[in-house]
């Protein structure tokens, strides 16, 4: 025997109304920016907090540089960072042609050392590192909270990760790129992707940060891919190995140290 339940008319009307409300609610809701704006400066500050080290940091970077029509070039460099004082040292260890070249960021000045001429010349964080698609600033601590303001934002997903997509405007002339669009993972405040734009909002470079390593409470990208959007086919992959937060001697962050190890 088949038994058919028939809901009363009042129940049917209530059900229909509830269905309509549920169906129409998202459409009637205000955009996320209006009703659920996240703490945007807080997101920028969190990026800095989770990626800058309170201790010294050291590691070995391997760069794999690809250019159209040329054989790929592999470079290696040892890096020492002291984020609390805004210092870093990079010593190029391979290939042999560049071995001994060094970078020293100290007192807001970046110096480049050439062992051939034995001279230090002034460089800039905004310049390309060793003619690759990575910039010198990619090795430096971040300061998103100071250097950028959020011009617009939205939410989305990148792969399977929920992210904030922030359009950033440089607040000073010291930034490498005047405009950026970054994909920040909601869960931990790590940047997964970045698009770097010129002042005229021309896409200059895309950067991808697929893997991070956690050291204590801090994160450091262990793989970075930089794609030159102006010179098609040019890209550089940076891989970090041997990350360490062991104390680094203060004498490391000096010109004398670079000269001595470059001999």
């Amino acid at each position: 025997m088949n038994i058919t339940f028939r809901r009363p008319a009042a129940v049917r009307r209530a059900t229909l109304l509830a269905t309509l409300v549920v169906a129409l609610l998202p459409a009637a809701a205000p955009p996320a920016a209006v009703w659920a704006a996240p703490d945007l400066p807080g997101i920028l500050k969190r990026i800095d907090t989770v990626t800058n080290f309170a201790t010294d940091f050291a590691g070995v970077y391997t760069a794999y540089v690809e250019s159209p029509g040329e054989s790929p070039v592999t470079m290696q460099a040892r890096m020492f960072r002291r984020d609390t004082e805004g210092k870093f040292v990079i010593l190029v260890t391979a290939p042999s042609a560049q071995k001994g070249q060094g970078y020293l960021e100290v007192d807001d000045n970046l110096w480049f050392y050439d062992p051939t001429s034995r001279l230090f010349t002034h460089s800039s964080l905004k310049e390309n590192w060793q003619s690759s698609d990575a910039m010198n600033s990619d090795f430096y601590r971040t300061n998103y909270a100071r250097d950028y303001s959020v011009d617009s934002w939205t939410e989305g997903t990148l792969g399977s990760y929920p992210v904030y997509i922030l359009e950033l405007k440089g607040t000073n002339a010291e930034v490498t790129y005047p405009w950026k669009r970054i994909w920040v993972r909601k869960e931990n405040g790590l940047i997964l992707k970045s698009e770097d734009y010129s002042l005229s909002k021309w896409l200059m470079r895309s950067a991808y940060y697929p893997t991070y390593a956690q050291i204590g409470n801090q994160f450091v990208a262990t793989k970075m891919l930089f794609v030159d959007e102006l010179n098609k086919g040019h890209k550089t992959q940076l891989t970090l190995t041997e990350p360490s937060t062991q104390p680094v001697a203060s004498s490391t962050f000096t010109k004398a140290y670079i000269e001595s190890v470059s001999r």
């Binding site: 159209p68 029509g69 905004k126 440089g170 000073n172 002339a173 930034v175 490498t176 790129y177 005047p178 010129s198 002042l199 005229s200 021309w202 200059m204 102006l230 010179n231 098609k232 086919g233």
Partner: protein, 460 residues
């Protein structure tokens, strides 16, 4: 008169010998005239070309110190500058406003580092007179994103008319920027440096370097009332001094006397022109401004002479003239020896003839003058032939187009021009005349001293 006629007849008696002697004098004068004329032409053309390429003989640049301490090359409002130029009461033919940057031009996989100068193309433009276009036209510069690039740059990029070039640069506050240009024309290379040879429109270059549409970075003043080729000529320094004096009463100016080789724009540019001329010039501007903070815009004035003297152009021309003069002296010594020897031979050949005319009553002085007149006629013929030949060669060379290359900056639209100072030429003519007469004087005096009896008794 009789002496001159006899002298002329004597020269005609030995046409081949006279031709060779006169030819030697002519050759010496021809070489020196050509070299001097070419050196003078090079100097004038370089000055003219620089004046037209840079937009004047006197230049004013502005440097502003921003609130953050950054120094920016910009002229916001030129009312005070224009008023100062009027106050100075100097003849002004044209004012050229320009902005510039050093960027990377890209087309496909290819790229070149290039200085791009933004100019106003709506009215007259000095470049129209000097820049030889191989393809395209100046009318295409009505396109606000139009760019004129040199043949060499076009070849390096593989660019053709209408192609879109991406340009990567830094703004005046050192921000990364990217823009695009359309190739409007391809020009001859002006030489010296490829980095001087790309031109865009001022408003778009201003946009790219991130200054206002009515702002610019350098004001070029083309001084008038001095005729063609006077770009580096008289009065530039005096006029510049008057403008500087008037300028200093209205705006903050950098001390002209404070200029050193480290702060001189051309010295800086020449030192680094292969790497980054724009940055080198800006660096020199900052050095000249000094470290003492200032408010608003501070101005620097410099002249084309400052640029050219740093390029050691006058020294170069002086050296060429000096070498030409030494060549002339060497040639003259050879000619003098030749003339002396030839006249000794002539006198030996004509000993009996001298004895005859002396016996007939001709005075010693007249005999001497006869030979000197022959020498003078040789000089006269040689000088006329030399100057005429030089003029002819100059005329032919002027018709030839030497095109591009590193010497193009020394040429006037690819062609040689010659500047021969009259004073210098007259001095050289007097020198050659004097030495020719001197060369003939000793044999002439020897001839005059001959005893008629002994001369007649000599065996020819």
């Amino acid at each position: 008169m009789q002496t001159l006629r006899i002298a002329f007849r004597n020269l005609n008696r030995q046409k081949k010998r006279s031709f060779l002697l006169g030819g030697a004098i002519a050759f010496g004068l021809l070489i020196v005239t050509l070299v001097n004329g070419a050196a003078g032409g090079f100097q004038r053309n370089i000055a003219d070309n620089f004046s037209h390429l840079f937009g004047g003989q006197v230049f004013i640049q502005g440097l502003e110190r921003t609130a953050s301490g950054k120094r920016v090359s910009v002229i916001h409002d030129d009312a005070a500058l224009i008023a100062s130029i009027k106050d100075a009461k100097v003849p002004v033919e044209r004012l050229t406003r320009s902005s510039a940057f050093l960027g990377t031009l890209m087309l496909g996989d290819r790229k070149v580092t290039q200085q791009v100068v933004g100019l106003e193309w709506s009215g007259d433009n000095l470049l129209r007179d000097r820049l030889t276009l191989l393809e395209g036209s100046f009318a295409s510069m009505n396109n606000p994103k139009g760019i004129i690039i040199s043949r060499k740059i076009a070849d390096k990029l593989g660019a053709h008319l209408g192609d879109t070039l991406i340009v990567q640069l830094r703004t005046v506050t050192d921000k990364a920027n990217v823009g695009d240009f359309q190739v409007a024309a391809i020009s001859h290379d002006p030489g010296l440096s490829d980095s001087l040879s790309a031109y865009g429109s001022l408003p778009y270059v201003n946009t790219l370097v991130n200054i206002g549409p009515a702002e610019y970075q350098a004001l070029g003043i083309l001084l008038g009332g001095r005729g063609a080729g006077a770009a580096a000529g008289r009065g530039t320094d005096a006029d510049a001094a008057r403008i500087y004096k008037a300028l200093s009463t209205r705006v903050a100016v950098m001390d002209r006397a404070a200029k050193t080789s480290a702060t001189d724009p051309m010295a800086a540019m020449l030192k680094n022109h292969e790497q980054n001329p724009g940055a080198a010039m800006f660096s020199s501007l900052i050095k000249q401004a000094g470290d003492t903070p200032w408010q608003g815009v501070k101005y620097r004035l410099y002249t084309i002479d400052d640029l050219l003297s740093q390029a050691q152009l006058p020294q170069m021309v002086g050296a060429i003239n000096g070498i030409a003069f030494i060549v002339l002296l060497v040639l003259l010594v050879i000619i003098v020896v030749g003339i002396t020897n030839t006249f000794r031979m002539i006198i030996a050949e004509r000993t009996r003839e001298i004895g005859t005319i002396r016996a007939l009553g001709m005075k010693r002085r007249v005999v001497r003058n006869l030979f000197l007149a022959e020498a003078f006629f040789l000089f006269l013929g040689g000088a006329l032939a030399g100057l005429g030949g030089a003029g002819l060669i100059m005329g032919v060379l002027r018709l030839m187009n030497f095109g591009t290359g590193m010497f193009a900056l020394m040429l006037q639209q690819g062609r040689m021009s010659f500047v021969l100072p009259a004073g210098q030429t007259i001095v050289q003519l007097f020198l050659v005349a004097g030495l020719t007469l001197l060369a003939a004087l000793f044999p002439a005096r020897a001839a005059a001293r001959l005893s008629p009896a002994r001369a007649l008794a000599s065996i020819s």
